[in-house]
């Protein structure tokens, strides 16, 4: 499985590995706007970006090369092929986080000369839980769709979704009813128990998604 992950991250993603620190730097640059929540938000943003980028690039290359046919002819179980793709996406997110942490640290070192570069590096347990939950939910949603329909068929609808979700934020917040509903929902899940519940749900969704992807892959490949 390690070789499959290596292929996804360091052979397929060579160009993206240069782009990723660039985005991390950009996110770190704007993170001051969010004050103490800057680190957490930056980590979540870069993680989702890295995950989606890895998933898309790997599926695109696999479709071009028909690489799955080679893998399935070799003694590699289908579950290994699927789980390695999930693992690649998670590792990619972790790499994004590592870049962010490094740039935050560098910004703080540079802040000695320019105080404007000072960044708050606080990471609470809640932020970590939200981070893992976010990765788990995005993976759980994205991967079965990509395994089912492939890169070519999903790239535009998913791209639209990626734009639509943040764009709908202001609309939701400006509508009093929606805003109230959202506040109520958030208050219901806030607190330690709420976080843990969402965290467990996200892990279950992740595992369920992996099982679903294995089934989809087998059905799709073995006609």
């Amino acid at each position: 499985m390690l070789r499959l992950i290596y292929r996804d991250l360091f052979i397929y993603q060579k160009r993206n590995l240069v782009v990723l620190p660039g985005f991390a730097l950009l996110f770190v640059f704007f993170s001051q706007e969010f004050g103490y929540a800057g680190m957490g938000l930056t980590i979540i943003m870069i993680s989702v970006y890295a995950l989606v980028m890895t998933a898309y690039t790997s599926f695109a290359y696999d479709e071009t090369n028909k690489f799955n046919r080679f893998l399935r002819s070799a003694p590699i179980p289908s579950s290994t092929i699927i789980l390695s793709r999930y693992a690649s996406c998670v590792f990619s997110s972790i790499m994004g986080v590592v870049y962010v942490v490094i740039f935050f640290a560098l910004a703080n070192v540079a802040a000695v000369y320019n105080p404007a570069l000072q960044r708050d590096m606080t990471i609470s347990l809640e932020v970590l839980l939200v981070w893992i939950t976010m990765i788990a939910f995005v993976c759980a949603f994205l991967m079965p769709i990509l395994f089912k329909f492939g890169y070519m068929k999903t790239k535009y609808p998913l791209m639209l979704l990626v734009i639509a979700v943040p764009a709908s934020g202001p609309i939701i917040l400006s509508s009093p009813n929606m805003n109230q509903g959202l506040t109520a929902a958030l208050s219901a899940i806030s607190g330690k128990n709420g976080y843990i519940l969402i965290f467990i749900l996200s892990l279950l969704a992740f595992l369920g998604s992996a099982a679903l992807s294995i089934t989809i892959f087998k059905r799709k490949e073995e006609l």
Binding site: I11, R69, S73, P75, E222, L223
Partner: protein, 285 residues
């Protein structure tokens, strides 16, 4: 020792195409040429053998192992070359070796390096920089480097120049010098099969037309040519025939009888002749 390949009553329906209860076997130490026109069912059969497709009925055993239940163990002992290179174009030859080595417990890095040098494959060259012939050689090097008992090759020589084809065929000869190993080789380049195959299995429209040794083909099968007036008396000895401007030409599996006849030209049938007659000749009723 069990047969390397044992296929019995294998069926599979794929859209309009159907593989109809095909059966054949291959003993260790031999090369089997799997021949047939495009769309005859060669690649489908290979995909079924590798469990890339789900069979509808019948059984596939390789080395006595069931190809579904014992899939991973079976695949450890198979070297395969598919009709295309599936490696990412940015991978180097060295990376391909490293990548594949992780999946085979008997991977022999020294042997891979040996083939790499023999086939003139530069370690640092990327897949996109390799010619078609070099890609085919790389696939073969990968297939040969884990001491596979059975090589399954799906049209490995199509689109290659005669020199590269000859290099590949020479390697297949080397493989079957080991009496425990065998080669299953699909192709529609019949001259390649004439050179290397010990057995020929001919498939047409999803049906096995014949599966026998090449010696038997040489002995039994022949192309018969004669004047039109002799056609009625010889028809019963012909499998397929076609009438020409000057007479007739036909395929027989009773070459010995017709050679004694004296009135006809009886020529040794090549694999290509058999393929052409079965595909284009008129059926004798």
């Amino acid at each position: 020792m069990s047969d390397l390949i044992e296929i019995k009553d294998l069926s599979k329906k794929l859209g309009n195409f159907e593989l109809k209860n095909i059966s054949f076997s291959l003993a260790p130490g031999y090369v089997m040429g799997f021949v047939g026109p495009n769309g005859a069912g060669k690649s489908t059969t290979i995909k079924l053998m590798l469990n890339l497709l789900r069979k509808q009925s019948g059984s596939i055993k390789l080395f006595g192992l069931d190809n579904v239940k014992d899939e991973m163990e079976m695949k450890q002992q198979i070297g395969f070359v598919l009709d295309d290179t599936y490696f990412h174009e940015c991978m180097t030859v060295k990376q391909v070796g490293w990548f594949v080595s992780g999946f085979y417990r008997n991977w022999d890095e020294a042997l891979f390096q040996q083939y790499r040098k023999k086939f003139d494959l530069p370690e640092k060259k990327k897949i996109k920089e390799l010619s078609t012939g070099m890609k085919a050689k790389l696939s073969l090097a990968v297939a040969l480097s884990h001491h596979a008992k059975l090589l399954i090759l799906d049209e490995p020589t199509s689109g290659l120049d005669p020199i590269v084809r000859d290099d590949i065929l020479s390697e297949l000869f080397q493989v079957v010098k080991d009496p425990d190993r065998g080669v299953f080789f699909s192709s529609h380049i019949t001259s390649d099969l004439d050179k290397v195959a010990d057995y020929i299995t001919f498939i047409s429209n999803g049906e096995i037309i014949l599966s026998t040794t090449k010696d038997e083909i040489n002995e039994k099968y022949a192309v018969v040519k004669g004047a039109k007036k002799h056609l009625p008396e010889i028809k019963s000895h012909l499998i397929r025939y076609r009438e020409t401007q000057f007479g007739f030409e036909g395929l027989t599996n009773e070459a010995a009888i017709l050679r004694k006849h004296g009135q006809f030209v009886v020529e040794k049938a090549k694999v290509e002749d058999i393929m052409l007659y079965f595909e284009k000749g008129e059926v004798v009723c």
